[in-house]
C-alpha cells in the first residue's frame, strides 16, 4: 500500500532556518540517510522538497480561463515543505517511517519532533467517480 508522508511548516518559515551550518548539514545528512535506507528496503516511491512559501502562488481561472495568480496567504496557513511516498505492507510501518522523519535533528542536534501527516494514496479514483 502506498502512503504519503507530509511535512508541513507555517508561513513563518520563509527561508533556510537560522541554524548553525553544522546543524543544517546534520539535518540534511539525516534525511539523505533515511532516503537511502528506504530505497535499499524497496519502500521508497518518491521524495521531494518544495521551495519556500514566498515563491508559492495561488492560481484560479478567470472567466476566460486565463490564470489569476495571488501570492497572499493567511498567516495561519500551513505550507507543505516536502513529502515522501512510501510503499509499505502496513500502516504501522508508514507511521514508523514518519516517526523517524519527525525525529530529524534540528538546531543543536535536538530532534525536531515535528508532526508528519500520513495518508493513504489512492490507486485510482473511487469506484463511484471513475
Amino acid at each position: 500500500m502506498k502512503y504519503i508522508l507530509m511535512m508541513n511548516t507555517m508561513k513563518a518559515g520563509q527561508g533556510v532556518p537560522d541554524w548553525p551550518q553544522k546543524d543544517l548539514q546534520a539535518h540534511i545528512a539525516f534525511m539523505m540517510k533515511l532516503n537511502q535506507d528506504l530505497r535499499e528496503a524497496g519502500e521508497l516511491d518518491s521524495a521531494e522538497g518544495l521551495s519556500f512559501p514566498n515563491q508559492a502562488r495561488l492560481v484560479r481561472a478567470g472567466k476566460n480561463g486565463v490564470p489569476v495568480t495571488d501570492g497572499i496567504f493567511p498567516e495561519s496557513k500551513e505550507f507543505l515543505a516536502g513529502f515522501w511516498i512510501v510503499d509499505v505492507d502496513t500502516p504501522e510501518r508508514a507511521y514508523a517511517i514518519a516517526a523517524r522523519v519527525s525525529a530529524a535533528p534540528g538546531s543543536g542536534g535536538v530532534p525536531l519532533n515535528m508532526p508528519v501527516e500520513v495518508r493513504p494514496v489512492m490507486s485510482g479514483p473511487p469506484p463511484e467517480m471513475s
Binding site: I4, A47, E48, L50, R60, A61, V116, P125
Partner: protein
C-alpha cells in the same frame, strides 16, 4: 523546472463533493483525465496522485524513544491536500496556465469550480530521492 500543483480542501468541501450527482462527478473526472492526457502528450506530465480522505489521515510525531505517536484529530477548518500534479514546464507562467485549467474543471451542473490551486517549485537543494 518542476512545479507541484496542490489541490486542497476542507472536510466540508469533501463532504459536499460526495453529494454531487453521478453525472457531475463523471464530467469532472473526464476533464481531469483529459488534462492528464494532454500533459502526457506535451511531455510536461511528471506525476499525479489523489489522496484518501482526511478521515484516514494520521499525524505522527516521534516520541523520545523514537516510537510513533499517531493522532487523527483535526480541526474542522483544516485544509487537507486532496491531490496533486507534478509538471515539468519551461516557465512558471505555463505552470500557472495548467493550474488555471485544473481550476476550471466542472462542478455541479457543469459550472467551473474555480477552486484555488497552489503552485510551488520543487527545491533544488537538500535531500532528494
Amino acid at each position: 523546472m518542476k512545479y507541484i500543483l496542490l489541490m486542497s480542501g476542507t472536510k466540508a468541501g469533501v463532504d459536499g463533493y460526495h453529494a454531487w450527482s453521478k453525472q457531475d462527478i463523471e464530467t469532472h473526472m473526464a476533464v481531469l483525465r483529459s488534462i492528464n492526457n494532454e500533459l502526457t502528450a506535451s511531455g510536461e506530465f511528471v506525476a499525479t496522485q489523489g489522496l484518501a480522505g482526511p478521515q484516514e489521515a494520521k499525524v505522527v510525531r516521534g516520541e523520545k524513544n523514537g516510537l510513533p505517536v499517531t493522532d487523527g484529530i483535526f480541526p474542522e477548518s483544516k485544509e487537507f491536500l486532496l491531490g496533486y500534479w507534478v509538471v515539468d514546464t519551461a516557465t512558471p507562467e505555463r505552470a500557472y496556465a495548467i493550474a488555471a485549467r485544473i481550476s476550471t474543471a466542472p462542478g455541479p451542473g457543469g459550472v467551473p469550480t474555480n477552486m484555488p490551486i497552489e503552485v510551488r517549485q520543487f527545491a533544488t537543494y537538500g535531500a532528494k530521492a
